[in-house]
């Protein structure tokens, strides 16, 4: 006889685990299903975990969670072929509780988080692939897994099965992605002695820093590269829109190799030993790509619902927030003994009202804007580098005539107008 | 336990179908060196039925003495009966060291004996030495899947025991002028005392893969990409009359049977020529083939470890190189090289 749970959550990433944790804590009988060998074994992200959302779920989590380093400095690098314009913010307020954000290694962190859900009473099932939703009379009533005797039932199913959610697709909630709706991120974990990391990145003790890299790092394709410090390893990666890669006939690892060999980046990773190579799709379509997230007996959360803020590189916090909102909705539904789409729709409403929905709306045009106008990456960043080089090279020219030259190099009056317009437009989509 | 009471180095002589296993002769070679270093006798210990005539063939290979248990009850190898003989003999004559071949029989026997004698046993040793003064056996072996070498000592128990991988030690060139002493041993053991009985021995009729005896091995690894890709290895091997080997990855991917596996958990091989094709060269593989006469590696990845362990390497695509090589063999006029 197949088992029945109150709820099944498919996918033990940040979204699914947050949902299962919240449900289990409220006494809901929940099954958390994971296809990997253990939670986190198949999960990938750049490596920054924002504190706030998880703190709401587990106050003071950072005291016990396997976080790598609290970020005390965020650096930005505007990269040209052989130069870089850097700016950064470092603040000691980020070096103390409650901190701002952390680097994490997903393989460790997700496992810890799922363990917390298990401690609350969730049942964690690893190495099991959810093949499809079992439906009856237009309502999702369970999950068919790839195992023998593999059906399992529930009042409500939560789909947290990631960006390429096969289950949401099978319900007709998703279309296939267009290449301009997803970014492909490739990254490597590079092992390096912690002392060397701390010296090389100018860090004290456990402190960490992040470097976001724009410009030449993606060879003009919309995207960014990054370099983050873990305890005794570095995360280096590059994420670009899939459409850009296709158009430029570039392979993602070629781009990563290019970044690793860039003269501005090479010194940071010198002497590292490659430990892991990971690749992952990131939904970057934003608000406009958001699929249907609620049906009869089913809710979609996290990457599966395309909840990523591409501009601020936030995903895991949105995922967790959506998981919590789904859990709250399910608890109400349980109370009312009603798991209909109409009942569950309050999840969608709450989601759009929350910072998740607000941020997605705010940046709804951003990705598309930057993709449409490649000059931000191709032209303005090299221009800024050149300007800086001219300004700071001491060659006997007066600063005044340097400024004049820089202004002249920006091009004709028409070019300058165009640049001003572009910057205004960028401001408009970002503000 | 008075350690000084224990003296002499023993080699368990494995007899299979009336023939002495090559590893036993190899161990006599290694044992001879250690016995000379220590100034103690080297003895063989032989158990079986109708095997006494073989005893004197051990002297040319370095044995000073051979203890012989020749009895009907030993007609088949059985752990329980053989173990009794070894235990009794060791208790009686107190050797300081007993070496066994790391064959399935040798390992089975040594494990049982070590438990009853409550002494240390090092498995699958690949290097042996003895300290001339202390008499401590330094048995070294790969550990953790060949990621590391470890030297194991047994300080307070005797005899010190080790099983030793076949084909790692070298047998002495037989010296027919050497002689020695045969010591007949007897044990009171009745069939009723033995709880196991061999009902039948079946020799597999299908052609066995004898990797350990092959002169030329063509081995394939993960780099071949698929079972179909691995077919290239079979074709090349047929072409040049070689035996097919494989890395652990290829075996675990299900492209070929385990009996073709070369390495730590497979077979140790010493062919004259070893082709490593699409094999990355993990240490666990290398320990199984690095004593080959001529190692030729072909791999797409210029950084593959195998290139550090080969005699000649080619960076490139096996699917391009091997067919060309097969063509070259075809055209080779000298049959000695071309194999028809």
């Amino acid at each position: 006889m197949a088992e029945k749970f109150d709820a099944i959550v498919v996918g033990a990433g940040p979204a699914g685990t947050a949902c299962a944790y919240t449900l289990a804590k409220a006494g809901v009988n929940v099954l958390l299903m994971e296809r990997g060998e253990y939670p986190g074994s198949k999960n990938v992200m750049g490596g920054v975990l924002y504190r706030k959302t998880l703190e709401d779920i587990i106050p003071g989590f950072y005291k016990e969670a396997p976080v790598e380093r609290p970020i005390v400095e965020q650096r930005f690098m505007m990269l040209d072929k052989e130069s870089a314009l850097n700016f950064s913010y470092k603040g000691m307020e980020w070096a103390q509780e409650p901190y701002n954000n952390f680097t994490v290694l997903r393989a460790k962190f997700d496992q810890w988080f799922a363990d917390k859900a298990v401690q609350q009473g969730a049942l964690l099932l690893n190495e099991t692939v959810a093949l499809e939703c079992i439906q009856e009379n237009g309502k999702v009533i369970g999950i068919r897994t790839d195992r023998p005797d593999g059906d399992v039932y529930a009042d409500v199913v939560v789909l947290a099965d990631g960006v390429n959610s096969l289950l949401a697709k099978s319900l007709g909630f998703h279309k296939e992605f267009r290449p301009d709706e997803v970014a492909l991120a490739v990254m490597e974990v590079l092992k390096l002695d912690r002392k060397i990391i701390e010296d090389r990145f100018n860090l004290e003790g456990d402190h960490g820093c992040t470097i976001e890299i724009f410009g030449d790092s993606t060879k003009g394709i919309l995207g960014t590269a990054w370099l983050y410090t873990n305890k005794d390893s570095l995360n280096i990666g590059v994420g670009t829109m899939l459409s850009g890669l296709i158009k430029n006939k570039l392979k993602p690892y070629e781009l990563l190799d290019y970044v690793k060999n860039h003269p501005m980046i090479r010194p940071y990773i010198q002497g590292c030993e490659q430990q892991e190579y990971l690749a992952h799709l990131i939904p970057e379509g934003g608000y406009r790509s958001m699929p249907k997230v609620v049906g009869n007996g089913v809710i979609v959360i996290g990457d599966a619902a395309q909840l990523v803020n591409a501009i601020h590189r936030e995903g895991s916090n949105m995922a967790m927030a959506s998981g919590v909102l789904a859990a709250e909705t399910i608890m109400q539904a349980k109370e009312a003994e009603d798991y209909s789409e109409k009942m569950l729709d309050s999840y969608r409403v709450k989601l759009l009202d929350s910072f998740v929905g607000q941020d997605l709306k705010k940046y709804k045009d951003a990705t598309h804007h930057f993709e449409k106008y490649p000059q931000y990456f191709e032209k303005y960043i090299p221009m800024m580098n050149k300007a800086a080089s001219q300004m700071f090279t001491i060659d006997g020219t007066s600063k005044w005539s340097k400024q004049k030259k820089i202004w002249h190099d920006l091009g004709s009056a028409k070019d300058k107008w165009k640049m001003a317009r572009d910057l205004m437009n960028a401001w408009r989509v970002m503000k | 336990m008075n350690l000084d009471e224990y003296r002499g180095i023993w080699v368990y002589i494995e007899v299979r179908d009336g023939r002495i296993a090559p590893v036993s002769l190899e161990l006599l070679g290694a044992g001879r060196q250690m016995a000379d270093k220590r100034g103690v006798p080297l003895a063989g210990l032989m158990i079986g039925e109708g095997i006494r005539p073989l005893a004197e063939t051990l002297f040319p290979y370095g044995a000073d003495q051979v203890y012989v248990y020749d009895n009907r009850i030993f007609s088949d190898y059985r752990t329980e009966s053989y173990m009794r003989a070894v235990i009794e003999c060791a208790r009686k004559h107190k050797p300081e060291i007993i070496l066994y071949g790391a064959t399935s029989t040798g390992k089975d026997l040594a494990s049982a004996v070590a438990t009853d004698l409550e002494t240390g046993l090092t498995a699958d040793t690949t290097m042996l030495d003895v300290n001339a003064e202390t008499g401590l056996l330094e048995a070294s072996r790969p550990a953790f899947g060949g990621n590391i070498m470890a030297t194991i000592l047994c300080k307070k128990h005797r005899p010190q025991m080790a099983t030793v991988r076949p084909k790692v030690m070298k047998a002495l060139e037989p010296d027919e002028t050497r002689t020695g002493e045969i010591i007949d041993e007897h044990i009171s053991l009745n069939e009723e005392d033995i709880r196991t009985k061999v009902l039948k021995i079946v020799r597999e009729t299908k052609e066995k893969v004898r990797l350990d005896e092959a002169d030329v091995i063509v081995a394939g690894g993960k780099g071949l990409g698929s079972k179909e890709g691995f077919g290239l290895i079979h074709r090349f091997a047929v072409k040049i009359g070689a035996t097919v080997g494989a890395s652990r990855d290829a075996v675990e991917a299900g492209w070929i049977d385990h009996e073709h596996q070369v390495g730590q958990t497979g077979v140790t091989v010493t062919p004259k020529i070893y082709f490593a094709i699409g094999i990355s060269g993990a240490i666990q593989h290398l320990v199984g083939m690095r004593n080959s006469g001529l190692i030729i590696a072909i791999n797409k990845d210029p950084d593959a470890l195998i290139f550090q362990s080969c005699h000649y390497g080619i960076v490139g695509d096996a699917f391009e190189i091997i067919p060309m090589l097969m063509e070259a063999f075809q055209e080779e006029p000298d049959k000695e090289v071309s194999y028809g």
């Binding site: 195992r147 005797d149 | 046993l121 196991t196 039948k200 002169d215 004259k272 020529i273």
Partner: protein
């Protein structure tokens, strides 16, 4: 009703483990802990015998508390009960001390229901010795049957088992009285993908945990480091070979070059008589 005890171990996955080159110790974080692959076959065989003859399968392991995971894996395969023997006193055990501790645990398990059969995997992938199984058999004073590749029959009424033992060039059919111990080859069976009900049972399962004090009249001098006659005196990285000569040029040049080398070494390259 057979009572079968399978002995298992949780091991680091040595296939992907990395060593710390400075200390020559394992970087445990680099390799996940898994159920020793050979032991999975041992448990599977036990489960098949249970299905064939009726009975229960207990699994026992000695290890640190996280080894619960390996026991759960066995429950996924179909084991009924799991025993984790865990205590600092066991730390540093070699094969002799390990076989003693596990033997004591099996004796304790047998107090609930007498044990008919003990099954072990051929060896562990971290220790690579294959010595613990036969050691347990000796200590329990039951016949050890190693290299078992097929179980023909287990007859509890008449008190015997018949198995095929793998030999270098074939196999032998051997009969043993019960109880006895098998240590099994990988080829004995295929471990199938576990059914969902087993998975759910395993996810909920908590094994019985024993410390030294639970094992009754135990001689502590035979445990752990103290009870281990062997010690690891030295570890070092395997010798790095010097590296070969890389053949350069176009593919056809490389092939021609290689043929020259093979021709030169033709002495090596002679086929044995009778071989084509």
């Amino acid at each position: 009703m057979l009572h079968i005890v399978a002995c298992i171990k949780q091991v680091p996955d040595t296939k992907i483990i990395k060593m710390n080159p400075k200390t020559n110790t394992m970087d445990r974080a680099s390799a996940p802990a898994i159920l020793n692959p050979y032991d999975a076959h041992a448990v599977e065989e036990a489960v098949r015998l249970k299905q064939r003859y009726g009975g229960i399968v207990s699994v026992v392991t000695m290890g640190p508390p996280p080894a619960v995971k390996a026991i759960r894996k066995c429950v996924e395969i179909g084991a009924d009960e799991g025993y984790l023997v865990t205590d600092r006193a066991f730390a540093g055990a070699d094969t002799l001390a390990t076989s003693y501790a596990i033997t004591m645990a099996i004796k304790k398990i047998a107090e609930k229901q007498p044990v008919d059969l003990v099954i072990c995997g051929k060896m562990t992938i971290d220790g690579d010795t294959g010595q613990v199984g036969p050691g347990i058999a000796r200590r329990l004073d039951i016949p050890p049957l190693t290299s078992v590749k097929k179980v023909v029959e287990v007859n509890k009424q008449q008190g015997y088992a018949i198995v095929h033992r793998k030999l270098e060039d074939g196999y032998e059919v051997i009969q043993s009285s019960l109880p006895c111990l098998f240590s099994v080859e990988k080829e004995i069976n295929e471990v199938p993908y576990s059914p969902l009900p087993n998975m759910l049972r395993a996810a909920r399962y908590n094994p019985i945990v024993w410390s030294v004090n639970d094992l009754g009249d135990i001689d502590r001098t035979l445990l752990g480091l103290k009870g281990s006659p062997t010690i690891v005196a030295k570890v070092w990285p395997p010798e790095k070979p010097k590296g070969g000569e890389m053949l350069q040029g176009s593919t056809s040049e490389q092939v021609a070059n290689l043929m020259d080398i093979l021709r030169e070494k033709r002495g090596l390259f002679r086929v044995k008589e009778g071989q084509v």
